[in-house]
Amino acid sequence: MSVISFIVFFIMYKAGDPVELLLPPDATHQEVVQMRAYLGLDKPFTTQYAIFVKNALKGDIGNSYIYGQPAVDIVIERFPATLELSFLAMFFSVILGIPMGVIASVKPKAILSRSIMFFSLAGISIPVFWTGMVFVLICSVYLGILPSSGRGEVLYFTSAFTWDGIKHLIMPVITLTLFQLALIIRLTRTGMMEVLMQDYIKLAKAKGLPNRIVIYYHALKNTLIPVITVIGIQFGQLIAFTIVTETIFAWPGTGKLIIDSIQNLDRPVVVSYLLMVAFIFVIINFMVDVIYTFVDPRVRVK
């Protein structure tokens, strides 16, 4: 995380002078110098970074240049919206993707399996911004049944508890889900097909276990190991890269915040966002490792 903080800090330092964007074009030279001194931007890079680290260790990453509030607070305020999207998308991808992958692997030649595979191929190849815009076009512009932007009514940090909020959620969640779902289907299917060829599956059948037990217990338990790894990675990615979806649906989450802040060269916000994302990646990886020990006895340490 300290490496990330340094890299981000450096890039933002090199990217340009935020003061020019903050002040009106007709500001006097004195005003510029004053502003720079106020924000601490008049000092050399190393001094700036040293001050940043000193404050960051105390939990203060600095105030946003634009909003004047602590940058961390701004990011945290926006986080529920992003988490909500990513969490719902991941949830639907997993509960739909794993069974669909299993079905597609057990009878690969059946029509149902073929349609699942066709769907997942489409999901993988169609870019997110395109699906998002087509959804807006169909559901909001032509049919007018779903709102095209915003979060709607928010209750307990999420839109999922109000009808208005749910209506706002549908399109962005589906847009985000499609790709993840397709990925999980393909992964589960490939994993299952591999596992189903193993001797222990044949032995499970030779023991006379019913087919559903062989598939959903003996085979799936082995297939889940690699799938869980990818789910973990993908979940982190979802949180970090909802940017496109949030931009299309004007979703007030961190993805949109980061784009705006990069454009405004609002360094404290960008740094705190990226630190937060890095932190979430660490947490998710930790959780994946914990889940691993439950699923795969081979990684359990005595």
Binding site: K205, A206, G208, L209, P210, I213
Partner: protein
Amino acid sequence: MSEMLRVENLKTYFDTRKGLVKAVDDISFTIEKGEILGIVGESGAGKSITGFSLINLIDSPGEIVAGRVLFDDRDLAHLSEDELSNIRGGEISMIFQDPQMSLNPVITIGKQLIETVIYHNPETSKQDAYKKSVDMLELVGLPAPEKRMASFPHQLSGGMKQRIVIAMALINSPKLLIADEPTTALDVTIQAQILYLMKKLTKEYESSLVLITHDIAVVAQMCDKIAVMYAGRIVEYGSNQDVLYNSKHPYTKGLIQCLPKLNEEKDRLFQIPGVMPSLLDLPEGCYFSDRCPYADEECKIYPETTTIEGRQVSCHKVNQIS
């Protein structure tokens, strides 16, 4: 003795992209109660597929295309999957070739044993199934069985795993046990123990055993009857004594000649010239003809199976071989 299993003209074919592979082609044999039948042959002769065909567990693209597998008046080649799962692991069970691969790596030994009991005897309680599993592990000579119940396969050695697989196969006291090279993955001392154990259990429980192996010495020690397979067919089939000590098929003779003898000094062991033909590219007539020292024009037609001196042989030259 009464009959346990009768196989009639069984054919298991694999319809592959490269062509039709007749992995098991028109084989017939019977097994009596308490009897041990050995199926011998080189790798790829169709021994394992024969074993799997007996419980009708053939992976696609293979399937039983003809013939009958009669067990207790039921034809296993034509039963539904549900009826088959009742028989598999219950009345007929199977031990696989590679113990390293035949246990599920993410499920404990105990669970894998208990589920075998419970699915065949739904009225058994978990406690009883547990006790039965521990007893069975003890019977196959696994030390500290209680501790092993909680182990995962990767924590055990190959010999231990094979004993567990055998325990799993025997746990529902099957009437017929099919053992597909049960000892190839084990070292020689454990091999002997395991074979002895299987023979003992077969005789004790009056069950039957089909022992699939390429090791003719094992067959000689263990089996009452022997079927010799070559390229998907049985070439010689009869009692242990007849087939081993008075072989009538040149292939069987060759196999026996390959064994080193203690009273003979030799630099090189005997080998049958050539290799077994690919099942996709079989020679015309008798499949063994291009490796056979007796072969001539007559062998361009596949020989009928004839019964001679109490055993069945498929060879034109039976009378020339003594």
